[in-house]
């Protein structure tokens, strides 16, 4: 399926020169706004298009489209390619639909990304989508366990690798993904859900404070 790209800012999903970007055409019925999270609502509303894809960061799609008592959902769909900090993006694209997003819009978006060899899943427009909603509380718990002396970081990571077959453990992963970024994501989740599991762990708060004061590690 053909698609065109409008670059609002630097994308977290596709680097400049990526085959996905060079594969775009000038005019298409599917329009992708890369880096749209940098300027919410900056996309052009065009109901004649089959689908308009908005690249999200941690914000909800509703920030871009507005919401209407659960009736929202047109031809605009959100997406984010999962990425742990500055690790290369994974092959996962989370599509974000609203309650009344048409199936044809989801299908078009799916076809575009699957055509690029990516795995596509569909998430409701809820904070954290699938991955951050599920993994961030676990990372918070692991960071808290570390503070409480349950086990060393090395042993917690080793336990998850050997006991659960994970490729990496929670501490090494969250640190590699940047604890200050973990703070930003969990703070946003905590504001939405208000439950303790999403509250940034102490080590994330420390990393955030150090970054704020220009003392990045």
């Amino acid at each position: 399926m053909k698609y065109s790209i409008v670059k609002i800012g630097d994308s977290r999903s596709f680097a400049d020169g990526d085959a996905f970007i060079t594969g775009a055409v000038k005019e298409a019925n599917v329009v992708i706004y890369l880096g749209a999270f940098l300027s919410p609502g900056s996309h052009q509303v065009d109901e004649t298009k089959q689908a308009i894809l908005i690249e999200l960061d941690t914000e909800c799609l509703g920030v871009h489209t507005g919401e209407s008592a659960g009736e929202e959902g047109g031809n605009v769909i959100g997406f984010a390619r999962y990425r742990n900090g500055d690790d290369p993006p994974a092959d996962l694209v989370e599509l974000v639909r609203q309650p009344h997003t048409a199936q044809s819009v989801i299908d078009a978006a799916r076809e575009v990304f699957e055509g690029a060899g990516l795995q596509v899943v569909v998430s409701a427009d809820q904070a954290g989508r699938i991955i951050d909603r599920l993994v961030r509380p676990k990372y918070n718990a692991a960071l808290r366990f570390l503070d409480e002396g349950l086990a060393s970081a090395k042993d917690m990571d080793l336990t998850c690798r050997l006991g659960l077959g994970y490729p990496d453990g929670p501490i090494e992963r969250v640190e590699r993904g940047d604890l200050a970024r973990h703070y930003d994501i969990t703070q946003s989740l905590f504001e939405t859900y208000g439950t303790p599991g999403f509250a940034p762990a102490r080590r994330a708060i420390v990393a955030h404070e150090r970054k704020r004061r220009g003392k990045e590690d």
Partner: protein
Amino acid sequence: MTQVIKTVGVCGAGGTMGAGIAIVAARAGFETVSYDLKQETLERAASQTAGFFGKSVERGKMSGVERDTVLARMSTTTDLGALAGCDLVIEAVFEELGIKQQLFRDLNGVCAEHTILASNTSTLSITEIASACGREDRVVGMHFCLPAQLMKLIEMSPGMNTSQQTFDTAWAFAEQAGQTPVKTQDKPGFILNALLVPFNNDVIRAVEAGVATPADIDAAIKTALGYKMGPCELLDLIGLDTQLRLCEAFYPVTLDVRSSAPPLLRRMVAAGHLGRKSGRGFFTYENKAMFGG
């Protein structure tokens, strides 16, 4: 300073975990006495053990002579008194505090003074299991992972009264048995379940909140994080009833809301949607093969 371990007893050896622990010990060269209440469960486990080692021979991991030598190190009994000569007894009986406490009191009555008692509990407190058994200083937590004969990890936890010598001896045994021990505090779920049980509940809550389908949650987790199995698939394998039991063990102790049983979990268990064992959980199963979400 550590004690020398030569003979290992395994209580609950008729079960999957106990049988696996017995394999680990015997394979590493320890005389192994498998204890359970019923002879038929021991015989079934012995047959499975022989089959396991038979496959090891077929795959070239050991010779037929080595297999015979290992099997000759293994004996079974329904008489607790037969564990009297063991240097280390590892229990893998039903996950209930009262049962484990009684077993350790009984073992204290029959075992030698130096015998170390280890619990394979995944959720209970080592200190509570050891309390009033009469040898609290010689009790230690050794949580193996399923299947024990294949998984290298052991979570090792000292109780509040565990002596350093006991812990060091059990640790040395784990290493001699070819396992990888990690040290954790005596806290609910140790490391593995303390992270996994609330995470699995978060997954169930996400399904309940309509965030995504179980199939999409599994695909997302596997693709993004490189997990071999998605969490919904894993929950179906563990059993939804087991997850509920874990929640009911954890939440009253931790009061962590993430450990409390999600309403959807309770409804699935009430409906008999227990996972693979009942043919239906987050996915449906036919002839033990998963065919869709």
